[in-house]
C-alpha cells in the first residue's frame, strides 16, 4: 500500500510486439509524476494499463491498492484523459457535464460549471464543433470534476496553445494543492513537465530507464568535464550515463551518490532536461541501478 501505482514485471504485448515490458515501479502518493519518453515508448500503454482500459499480458499492476477498473469504487478514484481527448461529438457541453454527474458519485458540479465558464465553453454547443484545444479542456474538466484521487493524463498539453498550456498546468497544480490529488502526466517533451513534476519516469523503447523523485535524481547526477580520459578508470560508485569526447576533452554525465573529489574534473550540476535527454538517448547504455539511490521508493 501507499503507492498510487505499483507495477511488478508488468508487460503488454500487441500481437507479437511488446508495447511495454518488465515494468516494475512504485509511484508514491501525492506527487505530480512526469512520464517522459519518445513517441511509441509505451507511455500510453502504461497509462491505459493504470486506467484499466487494457489488461496486462504479463505481471501485475495495482492502482490505489486495487486492480485497475476492478469496480465502480476503484473507477471513481481514478480520473483518466486519453491522448486524443475523446468527446461525444453529437452531445453538447451541458450533456457532457450531465454525463459526468450521472456516472460519478463524487461529481463536483460547481467545479465543472466554474471551469467551463472560465474556458468560455457554451453549454449548448455541440462538442463536435469545439476546437481541439476546447475538446481537450472539456475532457479534462470531466476528469477533474470527478474528483479523483489519481489523475492520469496522456499527453494533456499536446493540443493546447502555449497560453492554455500554462493555464492548464497552473490549474492542475491548484487541484493538487487543494485536494491532494496525485497526478501522472505524460509528454515526449521534458520542457512541458519540468515546471510541475516532482517525480519522473523515463520510458524508452517499452522499458523504464529511470524513475525517481526529481530532487533525488538531480542530486544523484553530475556532469564531469576535464582532460580526455577513459571512463572505465572512474572509481566504483560513479556510473557513466552519457559520455562525449573530443580530442582533448571528455564530458561525462555520471550517476553517483557521493561527492566527486577528483580535482581533474570540473563538476557541475545537471539540468533536468539534460538528465532526461541522456536517459532517453537509446545509444546510452544505462548501468545497473543501485538500490541505495532510492530511485524506486
Amino acid at each position: 500500500m501507499g503507492g498510487v501505482i505499483e507495477a511488478s514485471g508488468l508487460g503488454k504485448a500487441y500481437r507479437r510486439t511488446w508495447a511495454l515490458r518488465d515494468c516494475t515501479l512504485a509511484v508514491p502518493e501525492g506527487h505530480v509524476v512526469g512520464l517522459v519518453g519518445p513517441n511509441g515508448a509505451g507511455k500510453t500503454t502504461l497509462l491505459q494499463l493504470a486506467a484499466g482500459l487494457i489488461a496486462p499480458t504479463r505481471g501485475t499492476i495495482t492502482v490505489l491498492g486495487d486492480r485497475p477498473a476492478a469496480g465502480p469504487a476503484q473507477l471513481a478514484r481514478v480520473g483518466f484523459v486519453a491522448q486524443d481527448t475523446p468527446v461525444y461529438t453529437r452531445m453538447t457541453v451541458a450533456d457532457h457535464l450531465r454525463l459526468g454527474a450521472w456516472l460519478n458519485p463524487g461529481w463536483d458540479d460547481s467545479l465543472a460549471r466554474r471551469r467551463t465558464g472560465q474556458l468560455g465553453l457554451d453549454p449548448k454547443q455541440r462538442a463536435g464543433s469545439l476546437s481541439g484545444g476546447q475538446q481537450a479542456q472539456l475532457a479534462l474538466t470531466l476528469a477533474l470534476a470527478k474528483r479523483p484521487e489519481l489523475l492520469l493524463l496522456d499527453e494533456p498539453v499536446a493540443s493546447l496553445d502555449p497560453l492554455a498550456r500554462r493555464e492548464f498546468l497552473r490549474m492542475l497544480m491548484e487541484a493538487v494543492a487543494e485536494h491532494g490529488t496525485s497526478v501522472v502526466l505524460s509528454s515526449h517533451l521534458v520542457a512541458d513537465l519540468e515546471r510541475v513534476c516532482d517525480y519522473l519516469i523515463v520510458l524508452v523503447a517499452s522499458k523504464i530507464r529511470v524513475a525517481g523523485e526529481v530532487s533525488d535524481l538531480l542530486a544523484a547526477h553530475r556532469r564531469l568535464s576535464g582532460p580526455r580520459r577513459d571512463p572505465d578508470t572512474l572509481p566504483a560508485g560513479q556510473d557513466v550515463i552519457e559520455e562525449s569526447h573530443t580530442d582533448k576533452q571528455t564530458s561525462l554525465l555520471v550517476r553517483t551518490s557521493e561527492p566527486v573529489h577528483d580535482p581533474a574534473w570540473a563538476v557541475t550540476p545537471v539540468s533536468l532536461e539534460d538528465l532526461v535527454l541522456a536517459y532517453m538517448n537509446p545509444a546510452n547504455e544505462i548501468p545497473a541501478r543501485k538500490p541505495q539511490l532510492g530511485l524506486v521508493s
Binding site: 477498473a69 473507477l75 471513481a76 483518466f80 456516472l103 460519478n104
Partner: protein, 316 residues
C-alpha cells in the same frame, strides 16, 4: 447509466416513434378496405409483410451495429470506461435499452400490421406459410431482438461502424433465409397421416419416367400420382403414395389410365388400394410455432449479449 443511454439513444427512439405513427395513420386510414385482396390494397398487404421483414434488418444494422463500434472507432469508449461505471454495466445498459426499444418498435408494428392483414390472412388461410409466418404476431419481436444483438456483436468484433452495418445486414439476411428452410420445419415434429386414397382426390397420373405421362401409349415403369390434400391452413411438408404394404414403388401405370376412360382409370387405381401419406403441420400449431421460433431468436439474442459482455470484460 440508464439516463446516459437514453440520451444517446433518444434520436433513434424518436425516429421509431415517428415511423410507427406514420404506419398507424396509413393503416387506420385504409382500414375500412383491409379485407380487399386486390389492387392497391393487395399491394398494401404485401408491403406490410415486406416492412415487417425489413424492420428487424434495419434495427440490427442501423441501431445495433453502430452502438459499440462507433464508440470504439471514435475512441469515446475511453471516456465512457473511465467514469465510475464498470464497462460491463455500461454495455449491459446500452444493450438492454436498445433491445427494449427494438422490441417495442417491432412489436407495435407487428401488432398493427397483423391486425390490418388479418381478414386476408383468414381468407388465404395461410398463417403457417413461410412468407406470412415471419411477419405476424410475435416473430418480428424475436427477429428484432436478435438483429439488434447481432449488430452489436458484429460492431464489437469489427470495431468499425460502416463495415459492421454491411456485415450485419448480410448475416441477418442469411439467417432469415436459413431459418424457414432449415430450422423451422424441425422445431416441432410434423404430423404424419396415412389414409386410403380416394380416387376422387386424384388430380392426375403419370408414368414417373422422363417425358410427359403416358408418352407413346406405353405404360411407364413407375406410376406417379397427383392428389389434392385438403387440410385447411396446414403447412404440408410432403405427400407420398404407397401400396398397402408400405412400398412407394407403385408399379407400372395401369393401361386404363393411358388409353382408357377416366372411369376405367379410377377403377384400375382403386384396385391398387393406394394409401396417401401426408407429412404436415396442422394450422392449430400456429401459436406453438410462433412461441418456438420467437423463443429461439430471443435465446440467440441472449447468447450474443452474453458473448458481448464477456468480450468487453476481456478486451485488449
Amino acid at each position: 447509466m440508464i439516463r446516459l443511454s437514453w440520451l444517446q439513444f433518444r434520436a433513434q427512439a424518436v425516429t421509431a416513434a415517428a415511423a410507427l405513427s406514420a404506419a398507424a395513420v396509413i393503416l387506420a386510414a385504409t382500414s375500412p378496405h383491409r379485407g380487399v385482396n386486390a389492387g392497391f390494397y393487395h399491394w398494401l398487404y404485401m408491403a406490410g409483410i415486406v416492412v415487417l421483414y425489413l424492420t428487424p434488418a434495419m434495427i440490427g444494422s442501423f441501431w445495433g451495429a453502430p452502438l459499440i463500434s462507433r464508440e470504439l472507432e471514435a475512441g469515446t469508449y475511453r471516456l465512457a470506461w473511465t467514469q465510475s461505471v464498470t464497462r460491463t454495466r455500461w454495455l449491459a445498459v446500452k444493450l438492454g435499452l436498445g433491445c427494449l426499444v427494438s422490441i417495442a418498435t417491432a412489436g407495435l408494428l407487428s401488432l398493427m400490421i397483423t391486425w390490418w392483414g388479418s381478414p386476408i390472412d383468414q381468407l388465404n388461410d395461410s398463417r403457417l406459410s413461410p412468407l406470412t409466418f415471419g411477419a405476424r404476431d410475435l416473430t418480428p419481436v424475436g427477429y428484432a431482438a436478435f438483429a439488434f444483438a447481432l449488430g452489436v456483436t458484429i460492431g464489437l468484433l469489427l470495431r468499425r461502424a460502416v463495415p459492421a452495418i454491411a456485415v450485419t445486414l448480410a448475416v441477418f439476411a442469411a439467417v432469415q433465409v436459413a431459418v424457414p428452410l432449415a430450422v423451422r420445419p424441425y422445431l416441432i415434429p410434423p404430423v404424419r397421416t396415412v389414409s386410403p386414397l380416394t380416387t376422387s382426390n386424384i388430380t392426375g397420373t403419370g408414368d414417373g419416367g422422363p417425358g410427359a405421362p403416358g408418352v407413346g401409349g406405353q405404360p411407364g415403369p413407375n406410376l406417379a400420382l397427383g392428389a389434392k390434400v385438403d387440410i385447411p391452413g396446414a403447412w404440408v411438408y410432403s405427400v407420398q403414395f404407397t401400396l398397402p404394404g408400405g412400398s412407394t414403388n407403385l408399379g407400372p401405370e395401369p393401361q386404363a389410365c393411358i388409353s382408357g376412360s377416366g372411369n376405367a382409370c379410377d377403377t384400375a387405381l382403386a384396385r391398387l388400394h393406394l394409401r396417401q401419406v401426408v407429412t404436415y403441420q396442422p394450422a392449430s400449431r400456429y401459436w406453438a410455432f410462433q412461441f418456438a421460433e420467437t423463443g429461439l431468436y430471443l435465446l440467440l439474442a441472449l447468447l450474443l449479449t452474453g458473448f458481448c459482455i464477456w468480450r468487453v470484460k476481456l478486451r485488449s
